[in-house]
Symmetry: C2
Subunit: 254 residues, 2 copies
């Protein structure tokens, strides 16, 4: 299914989970606002374009990879900004292809084309940067060309009747496992693959290997028990919001 | 289509090109011999597992991304070995998670689990190493679970009647573009995306931005004109082979 004239669709993995619940493999992609340069370029022209997929296992949780084709996405820069912490080097560049680590500066400069988030693999072909760039392009195509939609720079906003509208496209694919093999057999094999990966030899200093979706499942279980932790800056924001709006309804423990 | 009990299928992109010639989007994946560790692991348990895709454009050549989910694949280590050149740091690790650069040592050690090719994104989650690991796992699943096939360590070889057989699986997907939109419209948009990327601002010192498949198309055109260049080591191998077999048929210009 191809979707046009949409906006931010939330958690990409959510749509793959819908397919997984029906015993299917789910793939979901979307293009997003320009923020990623091609290999050998510095202009943010591609989105962080998540390429996400998941499938059932015989465990308590599915295999689910939900990530941007850039090393980090805009939301993570916003988190660094709220925490008032610099980014690690090598994730974001300025228009001279130099590393940029100040999150406030990056958020400002993404808008005026002087900062860009690198594709996974970082800069250059030696590290495989062209692979992240290639997958980001694939996502851009799937999210636009199948429905004559918005792509590249136009994802920054389209002017209609004097107003600017953010528009993006999505592509969803569900593969019915039972068309190939009984779901139980499929899920047993995927479960075995997950266990095989987790049980393989750990790197020195690492006591655990995770499979995609495992950390998120554990976080969900934990949050359901103990609630959602929020950092001090956000607590402050919420206090101000509560006072301004006279809200009493939400009683946070602070 | 899911394929079981297969062996090395050659150029992954070849199958996407078959779909492209029919006006379709092509996706082709395969699992391969164990050589890649999970994030936080050092044991080669996943294959270099290419995740490849392509689609038509209105240009002389299609968009075609054909690459391993590891930074480099075994074939590239073999090339370094023939050229007698060390690898760049950070692409291959030993079982202490230290960088390994000697190609002969790496080729030997891949077989005894003491060398491993890193997923794109390199080590750790900060650089996005878990993304390459996640996509490699997706390819492992698509290449095995849909047809009750061989996976993880078993791709190193299965013993049957006292003999060892290399077995892997593949998965192919062709999406008929005309089910969504006229092929001409699709190809015009993908062509525009390619041109938009190429025409975006270059990094200092770079005079050209390529799109996926462009370098390979140019190489094909060049090879058709001037033939296939081979390095000195290979020339030597071919001379020996010609002498041993008494071959006169292939006259190389040396």
């Amino acid at each position: 299914m191809a979707v046009r004239n949409s906006t931010h669709f939330g958690i990409a993995g959510y749509y793959s989970l819908m397919a997984i619940k029906e015993g299917m493999i789910g793939i979901a992609v979307t293009n997003t606002r320009p923020s990623v340069p091609p290999t050998s370029g510095v202009e943010p022209i591609l989105g962080t374009n998540p390429l996400t997929a998941g499938c059932p296992t015989d465990e308590d949780f599915p295999f689910l990879i939900d990530c941007a084709t850039s090393i980090i996405q805009r939301g993570k820069v916003e988190v660094y900004n709220r925490l008032k912490k610099p980014l690690p080097k090598g994730l974001v560049i300025n228009n001279k292809e130099e590393s940029e680590i100040d999150p406030t500066k990056i958020l400002n400069n993404l808008g005026n084309n002087t900062a860009a988030l690198l594709s996974f693999g970082r800069m250059g072909e030696e590290n495989g940067g062209h692979k992240g760039y290639g997958y980001a392009t694939l996502v851009e195509i799937l999210s636009s060309a199948l429905q004559d939609g918005i792509y590249l720079k136009d994802t920054a906003g389209i002017k209609e009747n004097g107003k600017k509208y953010l528009k993006v496209g999505h592509f969803f694919l569900a593969i019915n496992i039972e068309n190939f093999i009984p779901l139980d057999t499929f899920s047993k094999i995927t479960g075995n693959i997950m266990k095989g990966l987790r049980n393989s030899k750990k790197a020195p200093g690492c006591d655990r290997i995770f499979t995609a979706g495992e950390k998120e499942f554990e976080a969900e279980m934990e949050r359901c028990k103990t609630g959602i932790p929020i950092n001090e800056n956000l607590q402050q924001d919420i206090k101000i919001m509560q006072e301004e709006l006279g809200l009493k309804k939400y009683n946070f423990p602070f």
